[in-house]
């Protein structure tokens, strides 16, 4: 009796498994959640402190505007790299990931040069908290960007070893998400710092 039941149900669709996505990607999203909380803490601390007065106003260096454009460009190249990987166009992936890393480095250099401009404008790390906040927020974002560049290099090496292709995109997708995230985070910080000086 039971056997016949079994054969009857053989072609039944697979029963529902619990909803799930790739655990590594999911962990990545959670990590980005904690990074958001970190910067939310800094920016809300910034607002609270600013509201108390005794706040030295500063002008963001022009270089930060350029670096913003650079990081947007790097997001574009990264997106193109992902699309190339999807089409198994590995040569373009290599070029595009490399150019993303170079743009990322350029962003960091521009940030650093921007700091120099700030110093010449008498905005220092040690002094009024407005400047201290500015350096720490941009510096911490830079640190995260360094980690993303390391991730890019890992993906680049994997591409050379043929471990990134249309059937194996998890690493690429995670790197893409992280890169876009840090770009978006910078945009938020940039606009925030422009509005609340």
């Amino acid at each position: 009796m039971e056997k016949s039941v079994i054969s009857e149900f053989k072609i039944v669709e697979e029963p529902k498994r619990p909803i799930s996505m790739n655990p590594k990607k999911f962990a990545m999203w959670l990590f980005m959640g904690s990074v958001i909380m970190l910067f939310a803490a800094f920016t809300s601390g910034y607002i609270v402190r600013r509201a108390e007065g005794n706040w030295v106003y500063f002008d963001l260096p022009f270089l930060f505007t350029i670096s913003t454009i650079v990081i947007i460009a790097s997001s574009l190249t990264m997106q193109f790299a992902y699309w190339a990987a999807k089409k198994d166009n590995l040569e373009s992936v290599k070029i595009l990931v490399t150019s993303t890393s170079v743009l990322g480095l350029a962003f960091l250099v521009l940030q650093f040069e921007g700091w120099k401009d700030l110093v010449s404008n008498q905005v220092y790390l040690v002094g009024n908290p407005s400047g201290s906040f500015l350096y720490i927020i941009t510096g911490l974002h830079g640190l995260h960007l360094i980690s993303a560049i390391v991730f890019l290099l890992i993906v680049l090496v994997a591409t050379y070893r043929y471990r990134v292709h249309s059937k194996n995109l998890v690493q690429m997708e995670m790197c893409l998400t992280y890169w876009h995230f840090l770009g978006g985070l910078w945009l938020y910080l940039f606009v925030f710092l422009l509005l609340y000086r």
Partner: protein, 627 residues
Amino acid sequence: MATIDLHTHTSTEHHDDHGHDHAHHGNFWTNYVFCEDHKVIAKQFLITGMAWALIGGTLSVLFRLQLGFPNADLSWLKPILGGWLTPEGKIDPEFYLALVTMHGTIMVFFVLTAGLSGTFSNFLIPLQIGARDMASGFMNMLSYWFFFISSCIMFISLFISTGPASGGWVIYPPLSALPQAMQGSGLGMTLWLVAMVFFIVSSLLGSINYITTVINMRTKGMSFTKLPLTIWAFFFTAIIGILSFPVLFAAALLLVFDRSFGTSFYLSDIYIGGEALPNQGGSPILFQHLFWFLGHPEVYIVLLPALGITSEIIATNSRKPIFGYKAMVGSMLFIAILSFVVWAHHMFVTGMNPFLGSIFTLLTLIIAVPSAVKIFNYVTTLWKGNIKFTAAMLFSIGLVSFFLTGGITGIFLGNSAIDIQLHDTYFVVAHFHLVMGSASFFGMVAGVYHWFPKMFGRMMNEKLGYVHFWFTFVGVYLVFFPMHYIGIAGFPRRYYSWTNFETFSGFADLNMLVSIAAIMTLAAQFLFLFNFIYSIFRGKQASANPWNSTTLEWTTPRLPGHGNWPGEIPTVYRWPYDYSKPGSKEDFIPQHIPYSETPESNLAHENDLIKLEMSEDAMTVEKDHTH
């Protein structure tokens, strides 16, 4: 279509099993030290946590000696404390502050966060949701070892010549920011901050792993509505951790900059010896905002796992389904959300806008609602239950008792007007030690008693457990109940001595009683320690399911190996609380028993579910064909 998926699935499982076999033959280092198996990591957390609990408890007895017997000659402690005793045989006042600080830090972070969440989230999440291991064993291993590094640094800070951090576990600046302020604000504070950075990394790695595992690794049929309440609790705890620990990181980072790089986030207008410090424009209140944005959720990081464990134990040992499963989940969610919007009730007396104070009062008092829901649900689960008074059950009931007594004083403290009198007095100490400290500690101990058979394959001694329970339960009330009176009388916390104030001489005997009770309570913990160690080696052998419980971990063999289930992972068909179901032969029906096997106890709508089950059975049998 479905068959193809199945084939790939079976092959990966085979692959997994192979890996597990491999790990079995690993050496000592891969099996016990840098192990990626969630059960071993859980035991590592548990044992480290217990070591910390002993240290933290001993510190508290040391300062209770000072408070209860201010005139006693403690020179017999010279071999341990050395230079921290004054020539007259008294505890050095600065060391007293260090003791209080380290007691708080150790208990809140190292025992009740890492020791509780680390142990039971790691141990129970894969076992109860039906997974072979955590989502990332490597991250899990890292999480423990970051915790271990953090523990080492914090432990070392106890022994340096200037003493450990002494500014209170809340490390408010400017006290903690200026090395000149006190001895403990020098190297001790630096080590504290470094240790906490590692701790935050460990906690985040752990939390990310817990959430990922709960969402992605559940076995077939384990929908969210069939999750045991323990898993719900660990899940919410991990979410709170991910959202709040980064904020503590931010606060600590700014403090590090103030301490070491000369910035002035928290410092302004400070004169030391008549000399003004260069720091201008900072705000110490900013630190309090950032700190308590972590600090208050931290209370629930500590408490929620204990509440989850209690739900499980009370239902099992009352032989009744938990009352109001959905209300339990809902109240935990509500508590988790509210925990983020009440932080300023720690700061009522910082000169806050009174209007803001009333808003935070309102939000704080709302927490009483989900908390009361939980207490009522515990009581109604117990009500008319066929109660089995195991040691775990006693500790769980103890938790409910503390949660209630401690919770009620929370209603007083959450009120911004009454807080003016009660702020930073022993009333606060009594409140949070009952509602968060003792309650969570009881949850942890209950969990150890309850899951010991699954952890070590042996039973703990019940009689010793009863003795442990009564001494601890009575001891805790004797310690913390009198503190309410001392607190209402206005005794400030963290004070080394009250002998300078005539007003406070009246409570000397009460303080003595508290100290004696504290010593008794600590002594009782050694019974537990003995029971724990003795039972690991000599305890009575446990059966696979000694408590006749329904959740998945009890379907594993007595000593689950790598991968937890030797064969296939069981499929889940019912919710985890089918105890004493009318019509059923046994008084419990485990989660993996399909409704088709229990026609005598099924409800009407459950009979309808049988059809769905059939298809799942067909798949299982088909899998066997492929073998």
